[in-house]
Amino acid sequence: MEKLQTFDSLVSKNDFVIKFANVNGSGSASANQLFAKAVFRMGIPVSPKNIFPSNIQGLPTWFEIRINKDGYLGSKGSVDLSVAMNPQSYNQDVEELNSGGYLLYDSSWKRNFYRDDINVIEIPLTSLCVESFTNAKQRALFKNIAYVGALSVLLDMEYEIFEELISEQFASKKNLIEPNLKALNIGRDYVLNNLSYPIGLTLERMGKNDGKILISGNEAAGLGAVYGGATICAWYPITPSTSLAEGFEKYAKKFRVDEKTGKNLYASVQAEDELSAIGMAIGANWNGARSFTATSGPGISLMSEFLGLAYFAEVPVVVFDVQRGGPSTGMPTKTQQSDILACAYASHGDTKHVMLLPEDPKECFEFSAMAFDLADRLQTPVFVVTDLDMGMNDWVVDELKWDDSRKFDRGKVLDFEALEKMEEKFGRYHDVDGDGICYRTYPGAHPSKGAYFTRGTSHDEYARYSEDGEINATNLRRLVQKFKTASELVPDPEIILSDKKNCSGVIYYGSTSAAMLEARDMLKEEGIELDLMRVKAFPFNLDVWDFIEKHDYVYVVEQNRDSQMRTLLMAEGGISAEKLRSLVWFNGQPIEANFIAKKIREREPEKI
């Protein structure tokens, strides 16, 4: 006899969070991605996030998928349906489930769970797969596909989409299509024959993903480097940046192989460490080839000395920093925005660096290509600072676009003809135009003109070693002028003003956008209005200072402990500490809208 239900089950269409709890290395990731992609194909806004340990096999790993019909895709921080496939983490998985939520578990080994306010869905996945597959590896692997099949019925999804996705995925390994479909149907049939369906959470087709794609920031940035004309990638493996270099290689193999000779129009070198990786990138750029490296915090620390050289000798170089949890080795598989200061001021002596701060994979693509133009134009390192959340997770973004009339900006380079015409003596560090940017030459450009000696020691306008303090000071001042020029070339901040006058301002950047916009809407419903400014780059331009100037208080929302962006604003703009209110989140998970709203709500009553 059925027990009488004493709680209300959650009911929601196209608005809930599913969390898959798996064992790392059990092959669950591709099944979970298949599920997320199916939701995407149904035209429903979706954001899959992989919450994984720094481990290859055995530790718990989660995959959280937020589905939201209104398009709020930041982390939500609560779970409505838990697909609990890992007995190690049952306690946590049961604990964090919302009241009235659903717990699906592998009932090959029956369990009682202590909560009486959740729905427990029992499917003997292991037993079913043991019956249907003979090979031990297949039995384990297809258990994952089987629960996806079960979900497709429980959530009332379109079966054809799964068929379509599986045949696309295995287009080149056709013999895998049949067993995958079989596994999918094992889960489906069990639900159809034994359980009541659908549950309270359901999915219904929408049209919201037209013109959208699902892509990770790393893949997009790697692609951006191909479009931006990078020819040499030098890198050293580190989570979460590795897939950026791999993304570059993947697309370079596709688009950069000469058809006639089979030879490559690119080179990718896995360096022995980050010191070498940045050195190679600097050497290549010095020689006139667009080159980059991709790394994360620990790599930035190692690259520091070379970054100072590139700054002072004025060699372009693009560095992708996919931030992870610090300090030190920190939380290698968790997300943070804690390298802001490390990048802005990387290296000893007076140094400052250009940073681009994309908010999502689409901007990763755009800023990646843009970084090569800026680096060449400014003859200095340009950082593209992203993070693990946008770097490694697939995000729904607008389709990528490219304007074919766009030309690479190689900056102020004197080629053979220009040198030939030149009458005065070439001075590598001679500020001819007054914008702080001088002319450079590539090695081998001209038989008798344009050669100079690049060095990290103090130098005069002709790149000659000089210990004259005034000459060095003049050069350092010119670099400040160049940085000012940079502030005019980097992208402007995105400013979103409310209709209301005199409300507080908020500054945020990078992957915080999704949660911030959702928090803004939540607060607006309560009558708290905010003006928003998303900073897209460093150095800050006049719009940034103007926005701060126009507000009594500005919250600075970021994902690090020490309010690094706030510190940077205070240091660079002389903004007072009282004016900039720090709002920080640094637990390694993507920042959540609820948290931002709560923190602002606490401090805003005087404004209502």
Binding site: K263, V269, G279, W286, E399, P443
Partner: protein
Amino acid sequence: MTYIQKPINHHPNLKKNKLGLTRRDYEGAVSSLCAGCGHDSISAAIIDACFELNIEAYKVAKLSGIGCSSKAPAYFLNDSHGFNSVHGRMPSIATGASCANDDLLYIGVSGDGDSASIGMGQFVHAIRRQVDMTYIVENNGTYGLTKGQFSATNDKDSPNKYGEENPFPPVDLAALGIQLGASYVARSFSGDRDQLVPLIMGAFQHKGFALLDIISPCVTFNNHDASTKSYDHIREHNDALGKVDFVPLGREITANYEEGETVEVNLHDGSKMSLEKLDSSYDPTDANLALNTVREKNDEGKVATGLLYIDTKAPDLYETLNAIDKPLNTLNEKELCPGSDKLKTINQGLN
């Protein structure tokens, strides 16, 4: 004034090479190294080699790290681009630069501190990758620029200027080079120009990683009587494995050697290295023999010099990367950017 340019009016009767240039056209700024420093003799030998080979200076890139030795590139080839990078990191600069443009001649100049200590990692990996360059270590067994500390190539027990003995055994860079597969490995002495110049010429014409470990005494900190890196010590203990000659393309070997007494190796561009063997059993294409010989001579307290090892067939990095013949730094938008149509296809694959 910290930079001195040499006067440019030359003696009219100076010998000219095929490009109509004199030796002086290959010079650089006036050296600021100590008078008598071995490094200056190596610069002079590089100038000789460039002059003899009719090298166009602008097709050369000079790269270095930090140290007295690493300053040397400022003192030769004024018309070449140079890059004085950071301590121990020249190999990575060279690797990136040569990937960008394989057509230039890369001359890397380093010190024993620069290569055998702080830069050991990069040194080793540039060799493994077979970067197409000439890598010169100006080896004085000491840190000249920071005033005479032991370097990792200083022999065990060989004292510093203040009489303290070195407690640690040395790194033998040439032996290491052979072991790691450098395809041209030579050792020489800054004071032996006759041996040094042909070895440098051979290295320039060689395709792949050419390592020259050149003992280059530091007159200020490591030239005392008990030092094993002093001029006197090296002169007494120099054990040349053979008399080396560089034979440019189109010139025949004129000297009459008995058969079996010479080895000839054809270089990439058709020129040759010829080796008059003093020890008739030596074969510089045999890596094991080379390693053993270097080690045996070491044990005897001698310094084996000459062309230790050569392999003209090893593919260089650019070849291994399968990069196109045209230098990567010459490619334009049309060649590099896939364009909007391709992006549409990519978009379609992502939805």
